[in-house]
């Protein structure tokens, strides 16, 4: 046995499950990428880590929850109508709009007054805003018990896209048939023995009867093992339609963002501000308006991610809902090179895959730690991120 197999055996890795996990990772990663875009855009223009971004995400999820209640999918509702894609669209738009407004308000009242202060002061303010939203939100928002968005709101909840990668092994079918025949024979033997002895329960059988019963039980386990082996002999990807919609929407939003940033006038202004804040304002760009726009777009993307992860991934909401996704998305932004938009997308997808791989390898307890491990590794060995370039600070 070579080292690789030994290692895999020690970890009990299920390689048949790997493609499914990779796909799950990419689906999850698309949400991280959406959130990471907000971090990276704000960092690009203001050189500020917007700690409160995760909380904007959380509020977006709550907005989706409230809209779903308003649409008649409240926890107490008993007769639920057939939902349609219009409901989902309404939830998505409401989350995005509310998040954009919240993002702009946070920028206006918390970050703008701090712009002339040292960066650490803005960072402390950001931490303060983040804690304030978490704990003040806990006073007013329904969070105990954690509130899930009812899955009935998703009309595609029962549909699953199945992509067969490797067909199931047909020879197992024959084996299953023969095993089943053996099982039936053993079962019949037990039945007849019971009639012969005249007992009602098979536990009252005589020693010979018990022997028959044990044979029957063994045959039964054989059948189930064989059946599960047959199941495992084929590999196919299962993607719920909801998550597919989530991925496609995320991708579409990213393309729209790319169009805005690369091909429109405000986008060009945004790039100019991110290149050089002061020179951009000298060139006649209204810097404040661009910063507000950046916050609005970034927060709207987080809102979209929040609505989709709360609806399609079936997560329950508390006011700390945004902490872990926020941190992971931040790591994704750093991994891709903070301030770099394609980098954020790449980093987000990698983060999602890394997380599912950690769970897959049996270390699920450490899935929240992997983000920080990656972060520290990136900052130590390639501080600029994968696609970014690190700058040397000059005097």
């Amino acid at each position: 046995m070579d080292l690789g197999t030994a290692f895999a055996a020690g970890l009990q890795l299920d390689f048949a499950n790997l493609p499914q996990q990779l796909v799950n990772g990419i689906l999850l990663g698309s949400i991280y990428a959406l959130i990471a875009l907000g971090y990276t855009m704000v960092y690009g223009v203001l050189r500020l880590i917007n700690f409160a971004h995760g909380e904007v995400f959380m509020l977006g999820a709550y907005m989706a929850l409230f809209v779903s209640w308003w649409l008649g999918y409240s926890p107490t509702a008993t007769s639920l109508g057939q939902s349609s894609w219009v409901n989902l669209l309404m939830m998505l738009v409401a989350s995005m709009v509310v998040c954009a407004i919240i993002g702009m308000l946070i920028e206006l009242f918390a970050y703008r007054p701090m712009r002339s202060q040292p960066r650490i002061a803005s960072l402390i303010t950001a931490i303060g805003v983040s804690l304030m939203l978490q704990y003040a939100g806990a006073l007013f928002l329904p969070n105990s018990p954690p509130q899930p968005i009812r899955e009935e709101v998703n009309p595609y909840r029962n549909e699953v896209l199945q992509i067969p990668l490797k067909p199931r092994d047909a020879e197992f079918l024959e084996k299953i048939k023969s095993e089943e025949a053996e099982f039936n024979a053993a079962e019949a033997a037990v039945k007849t023995q019971m009639e012969v002895e005249g007992v009602k329960s098979e536990f009252d059988l005589s020693p010979e009867g018990r022997l028959l019963r044990e044979t029957r039980n063994k045959e039964r386990t054989d059948v189930t093992t064989m059946k599960s082996e047959y199941e495992r002999s084929g590999v196919s990807l299962l993607i719920p339609y909801g998550q597919l919609i989530m991925f496609v929407t995320a991708l579409a939003l990213m393309l729209i963002l790319r169009h805005i940033v690369m091909n429109t006038k405000p986008g060009r202004a945004m790039r100019a501000v991110s290149l050089d804040f002061d020179s951009a304002s000298l060139m006649g760009i209204n810097v404040n308006r661009i910063v507000t726009l950046t916050f609005a777009i970034g927060s709207a993307l987080a809102g979209a991610g929040a609505m989709m992860s709360a609806t399609f991934l079936g997560l329950s909401l508390t006011t700390f809902f945004g902490v872990q996704p926020g941190v992971k998305a931040f790591v994704a932004a750093v991994l891709g090179g903070i301030g770099n938009i394609p980098g954020a997308v790449l980093g987000g997808l990698l983060m999602g895959v890394a997380e599912t791989l950690v769970v897959w390898s049996g270390y699920g307890d450490y899935k929240d730690a992997i983000a920080f491990v990656i972060l520290i590794a990136v900052l130590l060995f390639r501080p600029g991120g994968l696609l970014g370039s690190s700058k040397v600070e000059k005097v």
Binding site: M114, Q117, L123, I124, I127, G128, L131, Y135, F372, L379
Partner: protein
């Protein structure tokens, strides 16, 4: 030569104050009060030690609870496994555990301190936060450490005076460092890293030393905490706790030891006072929030647009604060006439972190350098008063 008598007197006075605090806590005859006094001491150690890293050396670390946790768990597990067959009992064992906690926490501090050589500002903040979380998650998954449920630490040692003596020692270490030539490089690194290194300061050594001392002190606090409480769980060392320590340091004034101590005690007792007050009605909460926002807006306006004498500005600030307090009182009575608001009840316990985060934001908006800035408590004013008296006496005679 005339220096050492003052020193001996101040050390003896320090011991005296510690035993006085301990005696007063015992005299209350109330276990709850005693526990508060001890925990206040623990928070003072934590806040002073973070101040050394954050305030004095300027390395923005926000994962301080991790060092506390390392100290608590390492001392706790050693006590549980080796106390019975060690042959050492009582105070010497606790002192040994404090050293062990300090060593392990310092080791963790070294691990965090090394990346700080390459990172600064917000990146360092995130990395320290990350290390804190990693340590918590690792502890949470260790069988011998009780996983997420926590572990019992036996035996318990409950020396109130020792906790405060350690706090005084921590204060003395930081204060003496600042007053001596060894402390100047720390301040230089805080003010300008590049310039400091150009002036021949060994920036690497300074940063690592700061992390080592700061984390070791937090580890001692952890050992004391674990043996005082007799039970520790990962829940007690959440990210939230790091932010509370950070709030203490920032509120007191980054770099001011006096500020850290005062803020630690004040912010520790505030939630306890709140709990005594009982639940708050919706009207009171709304009125309080409105008055706070209004006060911050007005104070900020005065700071930005008023350039008169300091004294006059201070009077205006005081007027705004008192006016807003009165307004919130009146408003709370008015708002409580609305039945919905009057019937809504909010537990004071839940308001704790809201207030802390509010303090952070308001402070950054109004006074980013903290309440005391870099100012320190000293006996200078007393000397000045005495000196003036003496010179007056000399003139009259």
């Amino acid at each position: 030569m005339k220096y050492w008598p003052t020193r001996v007197v101040s050390i003896l006075a320090g011991f005296g104050v510690c035993f006085l605090i301990s005696a007063l806590a015992d005299a209350s005859g109330n276990d709850y009060t005693k526990r508060l006094v001890v925990l206040a001491g623990v928070w003072v150690i934590l806040s002073v030690s973070l101040n050394l890293i954050n305030g004095i050396t300027g390395q923005f670390s926000i994962g301080h609870a991790a060092f506390w946790q390392v100290g608590a768990y390492s001392a706790g597990i050693i006590s549980v496994q080796h106390y019975a067959n060690s042959g050492i009992t009582g105070l010497p064992w606790l002192l040994l555990m404090m050293v062990a906690g300090a060593l392990f926490a310092a080791l963790a501090g070294l691990v965090v301190g090394l990346p700080s050589l390459r990172l600064r500002g917000d990146y360092l903040a995130i990395v320290t936060l990350g290390f804190g979380e990693i340590i918590r998650i690792i502890v949470q998954n260790q069988k011998p450490l009780g996983e997420a449920y926590g572990m019992n630490v036996s035996p318990k040692f409950q020396f109130t005076w020792l906790v405060w003596l350690t706090a005084f020692a921590a204060i003395a270490i930081c204060r003496n460092l600042l007053k001596s030539a060894h402390g100047l490089p720390f301040l230089a690194v805080r003010e300008d890293e590049v310039a400091a290194s150009a002036m021949g300061v060994n920036v690497t050594r300074v940063k690592v030393t700061a992390f080592l001392i700061g984390s070791a002190l937090a580890g001692v606090a952890g050992a004391l905490f674990a043996h005082y409480e007799g039970f520790i769980s990962p829940q007690q060392f959440r990210m939230e706790q790091s932010f509370i320590i950070l709030t203490m340091v920032v509120l007191g004034g980054t770099g001011s030891i006096t500020g850290s101590v005062l803020a630690a005690v004040a912010l520790f007792y505030l939630p306890e006072k709140l709990r005594d007050m009982g639940p708050v009605t919706g009207g009171q909460l709304l009125a309080g929030a409105f008055a706070t926002v209004l006060a911050v807006y007005l104070v900020k306006r005065v700071i930005d647009h008023f350039h008169g004498a300091k004294k006059e500005a201070a009077i205006r600030h005081l007027g705004i604060v008192l006016g807003c307090m009165a307004l919130s009182f009146v408003l709370s009575i008015v708002l409580n006439q609305v039945p919905v608001l009057a019937n809504a009840r909010y537990e004071a316990e839940k308001l704790r972190m809201v207030i802390f985060s509010g303090v952070l934001i308001i402070l950054m908006l109004v006074r980013p350098q903290g309440l005391l800035g870099h100012a320190e408590f000293s006996w200078e004013w007393l000397k000045r008063v005495l000196g003036q008296r003496r010179s007056e006496a000399a003139q009259t005679s």
